[in-house]
Amino acid sequence: MDRWIWRFAARDTRGNRGRLLLFVSSMVLGVAALVSINSFGDNLKAAIDQEARTLLGADLSLESGSPFNERVEAIIDSLGGTQSRRTSFASMAFFPRTGSSRLVTVRGNQEGFPFYGAVETDPPEAATSYLESGGALIDGTLMQQYDIVIGDSMRIGGMDYRVEGRLLQTPRESAAVMLFSPRVYVPLARLDTTLLAAGSRADYEVYFRFEDERDADAAIEPLQSELRGYRVGTDTVEEERENWNAALTNLYRFLGLVGFTALLLGSLGVASSISVYVRQRIQTIAVLRCYGASVRSTVWVYVFQAAGMGLFGAFLGSGLGVLIQTLIPQVLADFLPVDVDFRVSWPAVFMGSGIGLGVTLLFALLPLLSLRDVSPLMALRSGVETGPRRKGWAWWATVGVIGLGTTGFAVAQAPSVGMGLGYAGAILIVFLLLAGTARLLMAVLSRRPPVGVSYTIKQGIANLHRPNNQTLTMMLALGLGTFLVTTMLVSEDTLVSQITVAGDTNRPNLIFYDIQPAQVEPVRQVVMEQGLPILEQTLIVTMRIHAVGDRTVQELREDSTARATWAHRREYRSTFRDHLTDSETLVSGIFTPAWSGEGAIPVSVEQDVANELAVDIGDSIVFDIQGILVPTVVGSIRTVDWRRMQTNFFVVFPAGSLDAAPAMHVIMTRTDTEAQSAQVQSAVVRQLPSVSAIDLSLILNTFEAIFSRIAFVARFMALFSVLTGMIVLAGAVLISRFQRIEESVLLKTLGASRKTVLRIMSVEYLVLGFAASLTGILLALAAGWSISIFVFDAPLSVPFASVGIIMASVVVLTLVIGHLNSRGVYDRSALDVLRSEV
């Protein structure tokens, strides 16, 4: 019997192979997406493993936010090896030739680093020559943006440097990182040390190369605890590899998840196509049953066909995936720290093919199980009712396996279990809502149309709810594609509008910081000389938490049962004042405007930080300000609107409590044009080189640049789903083509013109396109709203014009694909059609 199943399954595909290929084509892109991204991921992992030393540029590094103390210096000496030091900080770079200035990350380097790999520059020799000549290397993008050429002069603080070359690739930094803050490399010996005054932020690093091939992890392990106590971080090749692996695995796994959506959508297309296909095989099945074929064997015949299709699609998809894999490094170029060689990852190919085959079989099984209900009586009378469809244990088991498989894969692929579950849940909800809307649409449209509605409209609408319609499949295909694209658009707009909104009206948009007390008046004067207002002036004191309640942070970090969060570890930049600002709202307690000088200082703590620290009103927190322990008590808890472009603080001290602490001043103003902003920045930097400035428009541009790169990657992956949706749509139109031809011929025989037939189809596709896009957009708005509230913590922003364009595009696309696949329907000979067997 088994041999017969194989043989019959193969024979029965004759004349249908083209159609079967069309069915399977909808899952090809999904498999391709999975294979390409996972194969690339494997190559990336291999590249990181191979070049782990290059990523760190050394065997070991130590890093601190303040100069190393004597004990740490002793430890550094004891570690030996070849050492190279680096000091990094943010500062303004001024370019006299163009008169422009820009906040940059300055890296003061010593000879030696990187010990492994290389700093790539243009010209190549500049990578080392700047150290000898005392010049500078500048991020290539920055040079382009500010029209800086090699040979130009640059001033940082009180030091002038000749630009020796452009930085192309540096250890530990990807192109995306450069966008946040462009890098400038100068010799460590030529740093203006006045820029490293107390209160300024700087990173002090020392890199090691051990010629004796010792195990850096083992060497540093016994010192970790002591170094942590001095707030010195360590990084080894192994840690660097793990960090990059974790970050990039998350990235490509997330992209794989987006690709999986395409596979799910394609599988629905397969299920829908198989459903129509087996309906057309019912007479054959009935005859087989008459002649003694068992229920099981008839189902197996078509399971084998589906498996054959799935295998073919999986191979095709894998091949395409391998080809697409060559594009991924270009798509992700800005986020990669290493060059990734092209190699086919067979585990990824097998996994993608296996998942493609499995998903196709599972989704095909749903319609195939209905074959169990085909009565052999249908061979005698084709009109025999098979009765209500059985949805017995096998059907529910298949649905269960699909649900569990989808969730399991999502959890395995997603960066976190929560994200995987969220993804599976979201996909389920979107599919259910789209399917529900399709059913609702069909129910509404099946009602008797009002009197006076034209025949073409009535007929076109009837096509959407007649037997064997493809409305559900087409709604899913179009709706999901629209949903994905619109969700991305709305999320992008919500993010961008946050920055834009923050810069609206009369709020400050230019911030000067790192202002020493003696520099406050000169900065104010320069700003006012430019005709600009001083909108805000604040004092900032840098501190860390020493203890919460009766336990020090050190104790908490060493106690595996205690919870030490980012709020315990971070460096706080706090202020002191006698009032709350308009971005702050008191939640509990009483805000103390001024400190009497007695007892613990009553501070106001931001709500999220209070939650992280697990403190409430009356609890004590001891802050460490430049080595001096300052006991405080939580006097009030408040919320802060972080979107406001102004100085916001986690912790606010009362006036008079920090007068003696080393403070840095911040002055805010507002400029109306980019030119005005550049002018005042240059004026301040020329006179006071150690003062830094942040321009809101620059942040906005940087943000948009970063986001557009992320959005490009996300769109690239979403493209798989959109294209799959179009294939599923085309497939759905094609599989109902014979029915359309029959109807068209009947209408033609009864006297309908070509125009009438075309109008009927147009009405059908227009209603379908409109309903699907509207549903997709409404779901996207709901998803966008959820993301804006729960992820971005911001109000939803909808780019109505773009959403309108998406809607119009989907409607037009539906119309075009529908008509393209129905072309020639009217031209078929009536006799041909009437003689044909379905």
């Binding site: 024979r11 054959t284 005859v287 087989l288 008459c290």
Partner: protein, 239 residues
């Protein structure tokens, strides 16, 4: 035993009722008869009289609401759907009004289907011989769409006989054919039947065709209104 021959089909008090919403519709009521090896029998009656339903029940394609069908010693009432299918594969041949060839198989492959379902992997020579016997030796590799109606029904006849069935059920075998082609198919049907010694159950509207069988069971409103020996049978008995 019937007339000293083995009974192939026994039908006892057969009733079939369909449920249409709240109403029940009885399409067969208390039907009973028996056929022995080599018997030929026609079931006739107006449209809606229950002919095809009776054929389907006799062949085990459907289950009766009450009553029993025993085919070649197998009581269908105690068999599952797949067990009934196995009985059909071993003992039954079918000829349908609209031929019911599988469009994706060639003529010879269609003929081989029942044999292959039985697990026979060497049925090709036999299928070829049968096709040659029905005059289609040169059309073996043609697909159904490339054959005329009469040719398709001849392929169906060859298919019906490949497993040398004990009983053949033919549902309006000439219903979709012109009279000349129909006559040719009928001649073939009876010749093959005679040669194989197969019991034949024929559902037809055509009384001339019915008269060619030994026995005519007339249905009306789901009940047997007459069960008579035909002149052919009588002549045969006299002869």
């Amino acid at each position: 035993m019937t007339n000293g021959k083995n009974e192939v089909l026994q039908v006892a008090d057969l009733t079939k009722t369909y449920q249409c919403g709240q109403r029940s519709l009885t399409v067969l009521e208390g039907v009973g008869f028996a056929l022995a090896t080599g018997d030929t029998c026609s079931i006739v009656g107006p449209s809606g009289s229950g002919k095809t339903t009776l054929l389907g029940l006799c062949a085990g394609l459907d289950a009766p609401s009450s009553g029993n069908v025993t085919l070649c010693g197998h009581p269908f009432g105690s068999l599952s759907e797949d067990e009934r299918a196995a009985v059909r594969n071993e003992h039954v041949g079918f000829v349908f009004q609209s031929f019911r060839l599988i469009p994706t198989l060639t003529a010879i492959e269609n003929v081989m289907v029942p044999a292959e379902l039985r697990g026979r992997n060497n049925a090709r020579p036999e299928a070829a011989a049968l096709l040659a016997d029905v005059g289609l030796g040169d059309r073996m590799d043609h697909f159904p769409a490339q054959l005329s109606g009469g040719e398709q029904q001849r392929v169906a006849l060859a298919r019906a006989f490949i497993n040398r069935p004990d009983i053949l059920f033919a549902d309006e075998p000439t219903g979709n054919l012109d009279s000349e082609t129909g006559e040719h198919v009928v001649d073939l049907l009876f010749r093959l039947n005679r040669e194989a010694g197969t019991t034949l159950v024929l559902v037809t509207h055509d009384l001339d065709l019915a008269a060619m069988t030994d026995r005519i069971i007339r249905l009306h409103g789901g009940k047997v209104v007459s069960d008579t020996r035909t002149a052919t049978a009588l002549a045969a008995m006299e002869g």
